[in-house]
Amino acid sequence: MNIISNIQRIPAHFGRIGVIAHHAFTQLVRMKVFYFLAFFAVILIASNFFNLPQHEGPDATGTHVLTLIKSWSLGAMTLFSVVLSIVATALLLPKDVEDRTLYTILAKPVPRIDYLAGKLLGVLLLVFVSLLIMDLLMTGILQLRTNMVLEQQVAAAVERGWPAGDVAALRTEILNQGPTLSLQGAVLAVFLRATVIASMAMLISTFSSSTLFTTIISFLIYFIGHFQADAREIYLSQGVGTSDGWLAHAISLVVALVLPDFQLFNVIDEVIQGHVMPLLILCKLSLIGLFYFIFYLFASWFIFAEKEF
């Protein structure tokens, strides 16, 4: 009977999560966070004017300006998504407690997991929309630039009497540096990394006493996440052959479970260099993102459910 009533309540859960997510998104938008997009546009335009093809020597392919656009854009996307994920998540929960708006929400028939999931999804929706706009801007400019470079380089190659095969190879090489599916995969990887960070910040904010504490700890964990895999490897190599080898493995496993390995997302750098991102890697990153989203959300709920206001 209880199970049936719980199943009947599932659509209501999704409805409430949607309402809270939409509200969190609106709240952040009305805080004028989208203003940073103008800053992004400036970065993009600036990257576009560095090392113009006409300034290069005759043998240069001109493709490194495309690499530069991708590098600057994905770098800015990473920076904005990480900062937004941490700051927005760290801000929303303590603000509701401080303003006592949380009382009025939890006094309604709103389960605490719905509240947390809604807030987190609201932040992720904001990051997603921001990345989408930045992606559209980057893809548009990159496409224009690729066409220009392609035209110039192919014309130069034909003028120099390159064989048709070499011209075709040059064309492929330039196109690989332009907007590709792998580049979209890299943007998705940026979003997945932001998902992991925002979920982690949500967990910290459930037991932290201030926005500042959550922000600092989240950034610390983010940086630790970039070398935790190496640190684990060194630690394990020291424990090999000793009696406490199993303990070292167990500790390493717990560390790997709780602290995400952000090195996995370095695949984005490969895409900037024009390499193809295998679909398998993208699937793996998606699963990691989903795992940490669920893991941190339930860990947050575990703490938040016991919290008194």
Binding site: R16, T26, R100, Y103, T104, L106, A107, K108, P109
Partner: protein, 288 residues
């Protein structure tokens, strides 16, 4: 048929808070029991820090009882579905400043699962009830204290709850705003909605409540029907209008002649400063 399930049942509630520096936990509520039947207006009074708000929070599941139990219409307070039929207005509420009054009510309505035309008409009805129709599109950030309390009351009523819990509903509100909130409580009473309010403004509680509990240092020290609690058993009040001095002298003489009776007090009944204030401001409003 009269409902037999109490709207609120608090049984031997105890709430301790951990303290950082003292070894002993702080006991905010100590063995408090309250029973409110549907349709009653119950006032919990006591000084600041006496445990009123903690009792209400325990009833809403915002804090977990150390001992004892709370239920709303027979459902355990710690269960989410117990909040299906409750509206709550916290003390000094702040709502999302970026939302307008109308959007605020829409947000809370959607949280309760109300959608579409039903939500729209409910929002209209409540804005009218709390007299905020003109300010519906203004951002909450620009609302006065009284307006905030009224929009707070409206959000508490959004899902047509059978129980409304009000924590210091008139705190910091001017006499006019205070009167409006009191009138709203009377309207709720007329509709048969159970009201559980706490305040340290005794006169207001006396005016609206039919049951009262006095809480002091976490303990319930007195509880019962208001009329029973405040009546002075051995005295009788007689208020006369347009009585001549001769009649008064005759009554006094009769009292003197009758043995075992004492005239305790004689004089003109006074209005309250609040009534005088309301009367004068209304008069000014009418002349302008």
């Amino acid at each position: 048929m009269t409902e037999t399930v109490p709207a609120v049942e608090i049984c031997h509630l105890v709430k301790d808070f951990k303290t950082s520096f003292k070894r002993l936990p702080l006991r905010a509520v100590d063995d408090v029991s309250i029973r409110i039947m549907p349709g009653e207006v119950y006032g919990l009074i006591g000084p600041n820090g006496s445990g009123k708000s903690t009792t209400m929070k325990a009833l809403l599941g915002l804090v977990a009882p150390t001992a004892g139990q709370c239920s709303i219409f027979g459902k355990d307070s710690l269960q989410v579905d117990s909040r299906d039929e409750v509206g709550f207005l916290p003390e000094n509420p702040y709502f999302y400043k970026h939302l307008s009054g109308e959007e605020t009510l829409g947000f809370y309505g959607k949280l309760c699962g109300i959608r579409g035309a039903k939500l729209k008409s409910r929002v209209e009805e409540l804005l009218e009830l709390v007299d905020l129709t003109d300010a519906r599109n203004r951002r909450i950030g620009g609302y006065s204290k009284g307006m905030l309390q009224r929009i707070g009351l409206a959000q508490a009523l959004i899902q047509e709850p059978r129980l409304v819990i009000l924590d210091e509903p008139t705190a910091g509100v001017d006499p006019l705003g205070s009167r409006q909130i009191r009138d709203l409580i009377f309207k709720l009473k007329e509709r048969g909605i159970t009201v559980f309010l706490c305040s340290h403004l005794l006169e207001q509680v006396q005016e609206v409540c039919d049951h009262v509990g006095i809480i002091f240092r976490g303990k319930m020290v007195k509880e019962g029907k208001l009329d029973d609690l405040i009546a002075i058993e051995d005295q009788t009040e007689l208020v006369l209008k347009d009585a001549s001095p001769e009649l008064i002298a005759e009554i006094e003489a009769l009292i003197k002649r009758t043995g075992g009776v004492e005239l305790v007090r004689k004089g003109r009944p006074r209005t309250t400063l609040e009534r005088l204030f309301l009367h004068e401001t209304r008069k000014q409003e009418e002349t302008h």
